[in-house]
Symmetry: none
Subunit: 425 residues, 2 copies
């Protein structure tokens, strides 16, 4: 636990009526996190003086660090300085330092300060100001009820500079020597969030509590986070990671290092590494599979051709699926997807193939083949696998799920996985 208890107060009509999506608080959270500081509470208010004063009074009693964002501008709805002066019981006076900043800001821009601008130099008496390298509004640093309050501009670029150049360095000085924070982010596919949690509880019950576990579903993948706070627990974690890999095996796509790790990215990386190309033969997913691969920069190195054969006629024309196969087994069958896969391989000269045919709905179902029935075939010219699923849900859910499983099955083929995914019963 950090000795700092941070709360966040955002002010702005545009934030609360939904005209502007708040990204500042996520930014602040990410910046203070490495200091071991979590935000305990975040309050967003409209520009209303009474409400603002009241909330400042309450929050300054609940926490020992309060960052206020917004309301420092020149217009009449910018109320932070006034609210602070009343909450702190200090008169509003013209702050010489703030005035100097305003004048220098204006002269650099060959801009003449108007009355509204000058309001920005009128601050609670004897407060400290925080430098603002880019904007007109200075920040305010004041103490109310033993709570350190920092007021920052709502303009994201100004907030960022003020936070990184002024507030974070100040906070670092207040904190005891830094703890040893380390986060491992494992990307998984094929296990739902609650199922993943149960598996972890069941198989890894002895996991030390010093290794914090977190889950984040970001369909179709679920991220598993392991956070440690000391050197010792970090060492422990490396041991436990091996056990986690044994339990979850190839449901783990890999470790998320920077941004994200998606199924198409995994397939792409494997193809690139092995110098292979892939082709797609799609019926019910109608180009979605191909589009997931071609959405990646550099796709041309692994992808040359995709076939969207929505009708039976086109499965025959474009992929040479024998008419007899279609007549005898139907479009949604093991035999047809195998023929689609073979056709796509030979027509495209690709090394790897994935073929899909199914009933996305809402029509097209029969008694033998209910809505959501789908056949997949994947592999290369020597080995082709097939699998049948029934995926229930909307048309969109069906298409997305089939594409995700298709990509996962190709990924497992490419890494020569010997494990079976949980979604194959």
């Amino acid at each position: 636990m950090s000795i700092i208890n941070l709360q966040l107060l955002l002010t702005g009509n545009e934030l609360i009526n939904g005209d502007v999506i708040d990204t500042n608080s996520a930014y602040i959270a990410k910046q203070v996190k490495p200091l071991g500081i979590d935000i305990a509470k975040r309050v967003t208010l409209a520009d209303n003086l009474t409400v603002l004063i009241n909330e400042i009074k309450i929050m300054s009693q609940q926490c020992n660090l309060l960052i206020i964002n917004g309301g420092l501008g020149p217009t009449s709805d910018d109320l932070t300085a006034e609210a602070l002066s009343i909450a702190a019981n200090l008169p509003l006076t013209e702050n010489p330092e703030a005035l100097l900043h305003l004048k220098s800001w204006a002269s650099k821009r060959m801009y003449t300060l108007d009355k509204a601008n000058l309001k920005q130099a009128v601050l609670p008496d004897k407060c400290n100001i925080i430098a603002n390298r880019t904007g007109s509004a200075v920040g305010i640093h004041i103490n109310i009820n033993d709570c350190d309050i920092f007021c920052t501009p709502g303009v994201p670029s100004e907030l960022k500079i003020m936070l990184n150049e002024e507030i974070i360095p100040y906070l670092k000085k207040q904190l005891p020597p830094q703890e040893f924070l380390h986060t491992t982010r494992l990307q998984t596919y094929g296990i739902g969030e609650s199922q993943l949690q149960m598996i972890m509880q069941e198989h890894l019950a002895a996991l030390p509590t010093t290794i914090e576990i977190g889950y984040r579903a970001n369909a179709p993948t679920v991220e598993l986070k392991l956070i440690t706070h000391t050197e010792a627990s970090y060492q422990l974690k490396t041991t436990w990671l091996k056990k986690i890999h044994q339990v979850l095996n190839d449901h783990i796509l890999g470790e998320i290092k920077t941004n994200d790790l998606t199924l198409p990215m995994c397939v792409y990386e494997q193809l690139l590494e092995k110098k292979l190309t892939i082709t797609t033969a799609e019926s019910c997913t109608g180009g979605l599979l191909a589009s997931k691969i071609t959405a990646l920069a550099g796709a041309s190195q692994v992808f040359e051709a995709g076939y969207v054969t929505y009708s039976n006629k086109m499965k025959n024309h474009m992929l040479s699926v024998p008419q007899t196969t279609l007549d005898k087994y139907g479009a949604v069958s093991k035999e047809t997807v195998l023929a689609m896969a073979k056709g796509a391989l030979s027509h495209s000269s690709a090394d790897i193939v994935i073929a899909v045919s199914g009933i996305a709905g809402p029509t097209g179902a029969t008694v033998e083949k209910p809505l959501g029935t789908v056949w997949l075939a994947w592999g290369d010219s020597t080995t082709l696998h097939t699998q049948h699923f029934v995926v229930k849900g909307t048309r969109l859910y069906f298409q997305k799920t089939v594409v995700a499983r298709g990509l996962d099955l190709v990924r497992r083929f490419l890494i020569k996985s010997s494990h079976s995914p949980l979604y194959i019963k």
Copy 2:
């Protein structure tokens, strides 16, 4: 002033630590606005039981309507039901209705409920539940301290359905008889939000103030809303709608009646009405165009085949683009997209075609053909049009923009538009 004083409480570690940007509260604000309700305060908390209970107690005393968002899921960090039960001083019991919902939800997906899922049916005793048409978690409706509390899921798609189908209709009933409110929603494509606003101001300056104008960008379309509050202004609106249609002409896709009106839907409706089929020949968009059409239920009536010809070789093999054309003009040229379009028409026997070839980046640009260069060809066997664009932005933005323009150009071809879109300079 509304008689309803609404506050919002969001819960989720991911919201407060910045992993997820909160878009739900903006959505809620926009949806309650037409009822004359503003959000007075918004509090965001981490998943901490004590803090949550405390805040529910405080907020339920400050307002008479509280919407809680998040914390209804199956995992151990979903604490809303427990916090409510303690704040309301009601025991947690298994809710038969919620259990029924869970079982029906699971059986539709052929999914076996686990212990974690079943937790979602354990709710404060005797609370009302709110239906959830798509997700596993039901909503909770409870009264604490004379405050109406609605608990909604954090998953945006589920929140939207629950809000629009359950909570808004409930709130409407609580409000005094509604004035004569009428909203016309026009869907537009090809004019940016601010440009649309400027055009409206310039050409329709005399529009009466009793006709309220609203804009909503939902890329790639922009919705233009015309709201009237009296019978008289409604009559006025019908006259002004004609003028708006004259000014914006075929940038208007149509009137949004229920859910949404998208470019693929417009193309689909036209094809269906005219009993025509379409085929796609894609290079740089890699299947995305085909997938937009096949995402629609009933796509098989208008779509049989799509060609994803990512390499030159495949443009030649699959679409019979002459090698000499590719050699002489390159893959990204008027001549190549025309040959792709002709090839796709003859190979698929479709009536209508759209062909695309461009440089999505980040590599592949030359001095003559900068990044973002794209050629489109569209039409039928008697008339093929071509157009060249340079679309600057990320790979994803490029692909989405090209797909949208391609669909819009096909739509304009099908409705025999005599107007030129603004995005063709």
